[in-house]
């Protein structure tokens, strides 16, 4: 966690380029066929249960088994590695970049992610708070709940197998919750943003400053 934040520099960076550049990588090995071109607009999944898939980005075929990969974020395609069309790629190979326009709330979260300790998902699964943590949150609110290293903080649920997840970062309060109960979180995505209690004023300062300086939503 950093104590020093150059607000002017960070805000000017977001003013000049208020976008996230989201790289889309090969989910596994296989032969790739692109479904979008540079400049195309793409949509994220929609619907009440996120049942409406996002825009198809590429198809990857392994063992005669084609799989269509769809966008998880909205934006405009800024890069397509067209030299890979019809070629075999390794898992993790960067294929596409999507330029995602940031909202004020996302800019705040992005800045906070540089300040908070991010506790990440160990596996793609659904997560919910451990019963004890949940009852403390219900009584006092998440930002009044302190978590300690080694504490059982979450339950990871996958195929009816529930695994307790123990917090492994610095002691601190739960400032940001990045998951929703019942919605899958990919491996490596942040679940919680935690900060030391003495850093809460700094966090509040960031939020106030961005809200004041940023006009649009």
């Amino acid at each position: 966690m950093s104590n020093e934040i150059d607000f002017d520099e960070i805000l000017s960076k977001y003013r000049s380029d208020p976008f996230d550049y989201v790289d889309v990588c090969a989910t596994h090995t296989g032969v790739v066929r692109f479904k979008v071109a540079e400049g195309d607009s793409v949509e994220a999944p929609g619907g009440e249960w996120l049942q409406v898939p996002g825009t198809a980005l590429y198809e990857i075929t392994r063992e005669r088994n084609p799989k269509r990969i769809t966008a998880q974020t909205n934006g405009v395609v800024s890069l397509v590695r067209s030299e890979l069309e019809g070629r075999f790629v390794e898992a993790g190979e960067k294929l596409i970049t999507i330029r995602h326009p940031l909202k004020k709330k996302e800019i705040i979260e992005n800045i906070l992610k540089e300040v908070l300790y991010l506790f990440r998902a160990p596996e793609r699964a659904k997560y919910f708070f451990a019963l004890d943590v949940q009852s403390r949150i219900e009584k006092k609110g998440a930002r009044a709940v302190t978590v300690e290293p080694g504490e059982e903080v979450l339950t990871m649920s996958l195929m009816k197998r529930d695994t307790p997840i123990y917090y492994s970062g610095e002691r601190g309060v739960i400032h940001s919750v990045y998951f929703r109960p019942g919605v899958s979180v990919s491996q490596g995505e942040p679940l919680l943003g935690v900060c030391a209690p003495e850093k809460l004023p700094l966090i509040q300062k960031i939020i106030t400053r961005v809200k004041a300086d940023w006009d649009s939503e």
Partner: protein, 305 residues
């Protein structure tokens, strides 16, 4: 003296019977090797007259063994005639009086991530096979509920556990199977059933226990067997008609094609209605929602409509 008196030797002997059974039914391909992979099930068996929770006891047992500088036997089975504080998923109560098969299997997690996701299915298949072998017409409802006459005869709870001293990862596979227990709390009477009630006669609890644990030995062994084939065989399981456990699950389940309600906790918070299209190669359930879109879920539960 506990009413249930199972030993490791009983399970080993039952495994020989299982091998002969599978040979007769024509599903013997690799059965001996699969049972060898699953031979850890019942490597040690503890029988108790009473425990509060077999899962809690298992955690304490692992911790105590490690404190003494030892490791717990992979595949240890903890059984109790009745449980005083058993529970299901979330905060659901599980009624566990004398007459049922209640317990926990301690599995040292040596499976790859993909196979680990199939443990839940393996447990349901094992129980369904055991119930059918007793003569009842049973089906599996995704993920692993075993139903007889549309009522639940068994429930499972699988929890991960990191041991406190050696930081070993375990899967604690809790099982509760209604065998000869005849009384259910009022709110469960319409949805739960005991095997004895379904068959019209009481069963030998020890016979059922060793049958179930042997089937579990086979189906968990199958996860290791398929994993080894997958790693060795460039064609992969997709080229061979899919994972054998999933093939077996499909044969025993009546879920595919059913109209269902889905939810993470479907009793408290049902989310949406859909028709089950199939099961994915990682065990997820493919659901066709009323708006025509398809969604695959990897956790949560369903109820038939």
């Amino acid at each position: 003296m506990p009413a249930i008196t199972l030993t490791s030797g009983d399970i080993r002997r039952q495994c020989r019977h299982e091998l002969a059974l599978r040979s007769r039914s024509g599903s013997a391909a690799g059965a001996e090797e699969i049972l060898r992979y699953g031979a850890f099930v019942g490597s040690a068996v503890e029988c108790h007259s009473f425990l509060d929770r077999a899962m809690d006891y298992s955690r304490a047992h692992i911790a105590a063994m490690e404190k003494a500088g030892r490791s717990v036997h992979n595949g240890t089975v903890i059984l109790a005639d009745c449980l005083g504080a058993s529970k299901g998923r979330f905060d659901r109560v599980w009624h566990a009086p004398a007459g049922g098969l209640w317990g926990c299997l301690i599995h040292a997690n040596t499976l790859l991530t993909r196979s680990r996701g199939l443990i839940s299915l393996a447990v349901g298949v094992a129980c369904c096979e055991a119930v059918r072998e007793m003569g009842a017409e049973a089906q599996v409802r995704w993920v692993n509920d075993v139903l007889v006459h549309g009522r639940k005869v068994a429930g499972f709870l699988i929890e991960g556990f990191i041991s406190p001293c050696f930081r070993e990862e375990y899967n604690l596979i809790g099982f509760g199977i209604n065998i000869n227990n005849s009384h259910f709390p009022p709110d469960l009477r319409g949805t739960a059933i005991a095997l004895a009630e379904a068959l019209g006669h009481p069963l030998d609890l020890n016979l059922f226990a060793r049958t179930f644990l042997t089937k579990l030995s086979f189906n968990l062994g199958l996860l290791y067997f398929e994993e080894e084939r997958e790693l060795r065989d460039e064609e992969g399981s997709a080229g061979r008609g899919g994972h054998r456990l999933l093939q077996n699950w499909r044969q025993l389940s009546d879920t595919i094609g059913r109209r269902v309600v889905y939810g993470l906790d479907v009793l408290q918070k049902p989310q949406y209605r859909a028709v089950v299209e199939g099961i994915s190669d990682t065990g997820g359930i493919a659901l066709r929602l009323d708006d025509g879109h398809e969604k695959t879920e990897y956790c949560g539960e369903i109820r038939y409509l």
